[in-house]
């Protein structure tokens, strides 16, 4: 158990420094190459995440597969009426994933997955135009999932895994659009929560409809991260207000929403497989970000009112020769953010993703995986209309443009 804690702490540390996007679809190099499809694929132990129902059908008795991503995301803001403009500092994030699967028999398997499906790293310039909403946010979560796979019949198999989730967040924003000390320094607050733990589960079913067609369904439960008694620190608070804005603790809940995936995989030829997934993410559980301070600082209530959103994914893999497999994919990711609720902590309008991937079978046991993702967000004019200051609702408007790209490297070892 101590080892688990050490591992999670390490994961947290690395992803706290570098993560990207609140829901980051980078849970496997092979899936990544195919537009992050996988609910109906039986290609690798990445299925522990994509569909535990497939794990018992994997070819190899024992398989380890892991990947490292180098993700860079950029968001820009401008307002043509005020001339304001800002750009996030796009560091390199390194989401990781590790999966191990072992078949006990033809009808039973067990495995373990560690992956980071939710995270965010958005760093705007300090005191930028939207600094009363966010200066910077670092959100990270690590899921640890022991898994069982069971073959019910020749055509149907099931899988289930409980998830232990460890999350952390660091968030800084200015206290208002205007509060400064005598020298003009803007007062701000930093909220830090670390090693917040919670639980969930991942369950899936795979049906081999024909020799060539698989159909899969997967449900990953909602996870509520409940931060209690975490640290809130105030900076640049004028002396006259330090009695009110004194360092304290806070409570806040963050939801990592449930996700349902249905999809199919079809072998077009012996060498070519087509995959089609639809994810539905139940973002409507994210209603507001409420921060309760232990002292007299007023509770901060920020309506989010997200809506459920779908992502449609297409992928193709081609086994060029026994050594090289090439992959390509495309997806359309609809934003959960409603117009008027567009907060710059998550500058994510609708996006389209283009992915490429390849695997090189270096030896019968070892394969190397590569992937590339280019994620293009639509330019959007939007606003956050629910910020209230001095009893006056104060909208924050502008044009946003974001993109992200990711290089992924991985290896698969079987024995």
């Amino acid at each position: 158990m101590n080892k688990v804690l050490v591992v999670t702490t390490l994961f947290c540390a690395s992803t706290l420094v570098h993560a990207g996007g609140y829901r980051v679809s980078l849970q496997g190099q092979r899936a990544q190459g195919m537009g992050h499809t996988g609910v109906a694929l039986t290609d690798s132990a990445e299925s522990i995440f994509f569909n535990p129902g497939s794990t018992v059908l994997l070819d190899d008795d024992k398989e380890f597969i892991g990947g490292l991503n180098l993700l860079s995301a950029t968001a820009k803001y401008q307002n043509v009426n005020t001339g304001a403009s800002a750009e996030t500092d796009s560091g390199i994030a390194t989401p990781l994933n590790l999966y191990y699967n072992s078949k006990v028999s033809d009808s039973l398997s067990w495995g373990l997955g560690i992956y980071t499906p939710y995270g965010s790293s958005v760093k705007w310039p300090t005191d930028w135009a939207g600094s009363h909403l966010v200066n910077e946010i670092e959100l990270a979560s690590v899921f640890i999932q022991p898994t069982l796979g069971y073959r019910v019949s020749d055509t149907v198999s099931l899988g289930f895994g409980p998830t232990l989730v460890v999350g952390g967040v660091e968030f800084n924003r200015n206290l208002s659009t205007s509060l400064v000390d005598e020298n003009g320094n803007r007062a701000n607050v930093t909220l830090e929560a670390s090693e917040v733990t919670s639980y969930g589960y991942n369950i899936g079913l795979l049906a081999t409809a024909t020799d060539r067609l698989n159909v899969g369904i997967n449900y990953r439960s909602k996870v509520d991260l409940e931060a209690r008694g975490e640290s809130a620190t105030f900076q640049n608070v004028p002396a006259s207000l330090q009695g009110t804005f004194s360092n304290t603790t806070f409570d806040a809940d963050l939801v990592l929403p449930a996700e349902l995936t249905v999809g199919l995989a079809y072998e077009l030829t012996d060498k070519m497989t087509f995959a089609f997934d639809v994810n539905r993410t139940y973002w409507s559980d994210y209603e507001e970000l409420r921060i309760d301070f232990a002292n007299a600082v007023p509770t901060s209530v920020n309506p989010r009112n997200y809506q459920d959103a779908n992502t449609v994914r297409l992928g193709l893999s081609y086994e060029r020769d026994p050594k090289w497999t090439l992959r390509g994919g495309y997806y359309i990711d609809k934003t959960p953010v409603r117009d008027g609720y567009f907060a710059p902590e998550t500058p994510r309008p609708d996006s389209t993703g283009f992915t490429f991937g390849a695997s090189y079978q270096r030896s019968p046991k070892l394969a190397l995986d590569f992937s590339f993702l280019y994620l293009r967000f639509l330019e959007t004019d939007n606003s956050y209309d629910f910020y209230v200051e001095n009893n006056t609702t104060t909208p924050f408007e502008g044009t946003y443009l974001s993109n992200a790209y990711n290089f992924g490297f991985g290896l698969k070892y079987t024995y």
Binding site: S72, T74, K76, Q78, N79, V80, N81, T82, G83, A84, S85, D127, A129, G130, H132, T177, S178, L179, V180, D181, E182, G184, P238, A239, S240, L241, G243, W324, F356, A358, F370, F372, Y374, R376, E379, E389, N390, T392, T393, T394, P395, F396, E397, G398, T399, L401, S402, N403, A404, Y405, F407
Partner: protein, 496 residues
């Protein structure tokens, strides 16, 4: 086979690198940072001079200080003009961020350091900083910002308004803010402006012609019909005919060389928190206190009822209190003088009276400490200088309207002139606030973001909004295309 693999790898690398380069820097369809679309239109901003009063100087929080000057509306305009041929913009900067003035090392009375919010609850307080700006330390110009706090319309052409010696005469004939930077002791502000041969100017003058009367609670004289400003007192209301003559003379001089400019009209006092913050019914009472107070005024009310006044004035002067918020008791010199009967000229305020901001600190306190019967606004009436009464406010509005008619006529008579309707914009600010895209400013005192702690002058953020609005006017009148500033990046009030 190996060569082929190598080739494939190269292709993949190149494709990936191309993707990275495309991805590195997403570009907006219309980047706000793109200068190529900006233009001066028919205007020439190479020599821009701003002539006016405190609102041009960047006055805020009761004084001039460097931060306020750097964020004066002309300084903001000049910074945006720079992208379309605008030249250098020099300001007579104060020595520090404390504000306040010294004369030969001694504090100049009435010119204190800036106000900041301090204490609990927060209240405007003089900053602990010490003034170091000495009026006797005369700066070398010329200065593009020719804004002199306190200047009235007829001061702009007054020779000697910047003469140090004129500070010591009684009444003073000079203004310490202009003394600091006058080109020569006997130059007028207009002379110093014309010396620079401006190609473009803003003129915002006439505010003090009414505001100095209004902020004194109407204790000065309405000079309607007297066209000789030399005979005016400091708190008098300027005659509209005198204003018209002076104003058109200044504009004729400024435009003689073909300069283009923006004339800015004058906001109404009803848009300014100095007049609108303190409610007329600022006295809360419970039933017992109201009964006791009514008893205290019974003799006065009886006297008024028996004095043979018209019924309307009896009603106006009868003083009553009830549980809840109660109207302030105020002095009103326009009431029938009954001092012969021992009856003071007092009444209770109405929503049409404007109780001045400074009186908020004395309302509810005891005029004679220890004597609860002398509470200001109840047992002791607020004095004439505490309130701009309905009748006095009407005089201010009439004069202001007349000045604005003059300004509009002068602007309309010359195609080289644009008119910025500050009165309408401040009325909008007062009624609904101005949403500048990343926030809102209102006229709410101390917290609204629009007005500084003196209650009369904008904050830096307020000046930034004004500058953006003036740019709208310049664009529509002169075909220019200018980049706006982000008001949200400018300060409002400072807390100590």
């Amino acid at each position: 086979m190996k060569a082929k693999t190598q080739h494939l790898r190269n292709v993949a690398c190149i494709a990936a690198l191309t993707g990275v380069l495309a991805a590195c820097d997403p570009e907006f369809n219309n980047p706000v940072t793109d200068n190529s679309s900006l233009s001066a239109g028919t205007a020439d901003f190479s020599r821009f001079v701003a002539l006016g009063d405190s609102l041009t100087a960047g006055f805020a929080d009761g004084t001039v200080y460097t931060h306020g000057q750097e964020n004066s509306f002309p300084a903001i305009l000049a910074q945006q003009f720079a992208a379309v041929g605008g030249g250098a913009f020099t300001q007579p900067l104060m020595a520090d961020n404390n504000g306040g003035l010294l004369l030969s090392g001694n504090p100049l009375p009435g010119f204190d350091q800036r106000l900041v919010l301090s204490g609990s609850p927060l209240a405007p307080t003089l900053s602990s900083g010490t003034p170091t700006t000495d009026v006797a330390n005369i700066l070398t110009g010329p200065f593009n910002n020719m804004g002199v706090p306190g200047a009235k319309s007829f001061h702009l052409g007054a020779d000697g308004y910047g003469n140090l010696a004129g500070l010591l005469t009684v009444p003073a004939t000079a203004n310490p803010f202009f003394v600091r930077f006058a080109g020569a002791p006997n130059n007028s502000m207009v002379t110093d402006t014309l010396t620079q041969v401006p190609t473009f100017f803003t003129l915002w003058i006439g505010n003090n012609d009414t505001v100095s009367y209004a902020t004194a609670g109407g204790t000065g004289v309405d000079q309607l019909g007297n066209t000789n400003p030399a005979t005016y007192g400091a708190s008098d209301l300027t005659d509209p005919t005198a204003f018209a003559g002076v104003y058109s003379g200044i504009v004729t001089a400024l435009t003689a060389n073909g300069a283009k400019g923006v004339l800015i009209n004058l906001p109404d006092v009803t848009s300014i928190p100095y007049f609108t913050t303190v409610p007329f019914n600022a006295i809360p009472m419970d039933a017992d206190t109201a009964a006791a107070s009514n008893a205290a005024f019974a003799a006065y009310n009886g006297g008024i009822a028996g004095a043979g006044l018209p019924a309307a004035e009896v009603a106006q002067r009868t003083i009553t209190f009830a549980a809840g918020q109660n109207a302030l008791v105020i002095e009103d010199e326009s009431l029938t003088d009954l001092s012969g009967f021992g009856l003071p000229s007092i009444r209770q305020a109405t929503a049409a009276d404007f109780v001045l901001l400074p009186s908020s600190s004395k309302i509810g306190t005891e005029a004679t400490p220890g004597n609860p019967a002398t509470v200001w606004g109840v047992g002791t009436a607020l004095v004439d200088g505490d309130v701009l009464t309905e009748a006095e406010a009407a005089l201010v509005t009439a004069a202001n309207d007349a000045f604005n008619t003059t300004i509009a006529n002068v602007a309309n008579a010359n195609p080289d002139l644009a008119l910025f309707d500050a009165k309408a914009e401040l009325a909008r600010l007062a009624s609904e606030g101005i949403n500048y895209g990343s926030g809102i400013i209102t006229t709410t005192f101390a917290t609204g973001g629009g007005f500084s702690l003196d209650g009369v002058h904008p904050t830096a953020r307020g000046y930034a909004v004004v500058a953006n609005l003036i740019m709208d006017t310049i664009e529509s009148s002169f075909g220019a295309t200018l980049r706006r500033v982000d008001p949200g990046s400018y300060t409002t009030t400072f807390i100590e």
